[in-house]
Amino acid sequence: MKRPPFLVALPWILPWAVGFVAFLAVPIAMSLWYSFNDYSLLEPAAFVALDNYRELAGDPLFWRVTRNTLFYGLASSGLSVALSLLIAALLETRVRGASLVRAIVFIPVLVPAVSGAVSWLWLYNPRFGLINSALSKLGVDGPDWLGSTAWAMPSFIVMGLWVIGSSVLVYSAALQDVPRTLYESASIDGVGRLGRFRHVTLPMVSPAVLFNGVMSLIWSLQLFAPPHLMTRGGPEETTYTYSMYVYNNAFIYGRMGYASALAWLQILVTLALTLIVLAVGRRFVYYRAA
């Protein structure tokens, strides 16, 4: 009468299995197929083999958006890892008001992308924005942040640092797990505050650093809504990102085949980064949560 365990479990995991196949595996397979086609959505697809991929290699705009995106991704995830560790360490001092600051730092995570874009557009406005108004009080003539080829991308990096509340929380959890006795014995041995941070805290939270770093890299490489809404990729394509290029090819230029090839490259890179997270973060993710 006893049924094999797998058959007992199957009905329970069926919703996930169906969803995984229908909404992830099938679309990705379809886009692999269309990446070998010339497909405008309006006319039937025409098989072109590797033409889309060959075109990629010689497409200056492709290289441009790739460079922009890598620059943003590396700068933004590197800074966010450091800044969120700093904030989490400060919060751990439990000074008065720390829990209020923790909430304030977390709130931007909940703010929808469009509202964030609108708020920052206004802060960055060259004429009446808050930043330039504040700078002019100091006698500094602020630049046209989003309209200048030099400042536009850094402006998005700063804006990205506004949304680091989740990594702060991950660090806080990791910091709370560092055994107090380690700090005590280090103190007894005469190790100073910085030495304790360098030799006790950092090694103990290093899995969290790696996890947050790669997660934030995966997410920052998808940057879409802020430049799409705020600069349309300009000025002179300095803020044109990879995801915007996929979107524009697929839905604006009617080049779904080319967009599919672009999307496939992006999927492969994301997959590689995900494997890194799973390999190094596994221990951390599992034991952290239980």
Partner: protein
């Protein structure tokens, strides 16, 4: 205690900087359109009576609330953006997604936490891996599928996938189910309960906090989704609040910033209220999940 003072000061500065973008946006939403577009650091709106009205006068505050009410009323009744309709669309999508993810993810999480089957850990690793796939990466491929299904221009792409469980919801619920003592299931099984019985009578009632957290996360994700509606919807009557706001500010072309900020404030408000009411759930949820950006 110089170090503690240093930490306190740094945190005060950080808190101030992180609060500025939203607080300032809210303050702009209270001003007149001329003041909103004027340079300067004026925090509160200014009103002229006979000379400038003082902050201490009753007349100032009556003008203040009149102006604020007028701005928000203008947004609500705007001829170029049907705010109440967008609100209804956003709520519809969010509520259907929350229901779907709660029902399907709890079932799946039971399968990953209470049943022993061969290959379970390998499949669960796959679930974890899909948790890290960002929406932007699969949006164009998904479009191809939804087009085949005839779902483009309907709400279905925005809520139907949630009924097939979400990786992060499954993960959070599984972690929680694992903390429920096995003895409880076993007692119920001895009393003749099937797995369905254990799930409905033992696990679900004990998991209310985890279910609430998963529901909240899904609500926020659906409410805040911009790319999904942007790609899958194509009529203005179907716009969600996010699309509505994007369209509203584009049409305004930067002119009445006070109204754009009022619209934006209204869009943030429900999520912010949910957060303030359920802060612990949110914070513990993110810590368990360890991601979500």
């Amino acid at each position: 205690m110089g170090a503690r003072l240093g930490a306190w000061t740094s945190l005060a500065v950080i808190g101030f900087l992180y609060a500025v973008p939203l607080v300032w946006g809210f303050l702009v939403s209270l001003k007149t359109s001329a003041q909103a577009a004027a340079p300067g650091l004026g925090v509160l709106p200014r009103f002229e009576g006979e000379g400038e009205l003082s902050l201490l006068s009753l007349a100032y505050w009556s003008r203040f609330f009149e102006q604020a009410a007028a701005n928000y009323h203008d947004v609500w009744t705007s001829p170029i953006a049907d705010f109440p309709l967008y609100l209804r669309n956003s709520l519809l999508v969010a509520v259907l997604s929350v229901l779907g993810t709660l029902v399907s993810s709890s079932i799946v999480a039971y399968g990953f936490s209470r049943l022993a089957w061969r290959g379970r850990d390998a499949v669960f690793t796959l679930v974890l891996a899909t948790m890290m796939v960002p929406q932007a990466v699969v949006i164009a491929p998904s479009y191809l599928l939804f087009r085949e299904l005839g779902w483009i221009g309907t709400f279905a792409p925005l809520w139907a996938p949630a009924w097939f469980s979400g990786a992060s919801s499954v993960f959070m619920l599984r972690q929680f189910f694992l903390t429920i003592p096995r003895e409880l299931d076993e007692a119920a099984r001895i009393d003749g309960c099937s797995h369905v019985g254990v799930f409905v009578r033992v696990i679900l009632p004990l998991s209310r906090p985890a279910l609430a957290a998963v529901g909240l996360f899904q609500f926020v994700a659906s409410w805040n989704d911009f790319l999904g509606p942007l790609v899958f919807l194509n009529h203005q009557e179907q716009y969600t609040l996010q699309l509505g706001l994007a369209n509203y500010y584009a049409q305004h072309g930067g002119t009445p910033w006070n109204l754009v900020m009022a619209f934006s404030t209204l869009v943030i408000l429900p999520v912010l209220l949910l957060f303030l009411l359920t802060r612990r759930l949110f914070v513990e949820g993110v810590a368990t999940q360890g991601l979500k950006e």
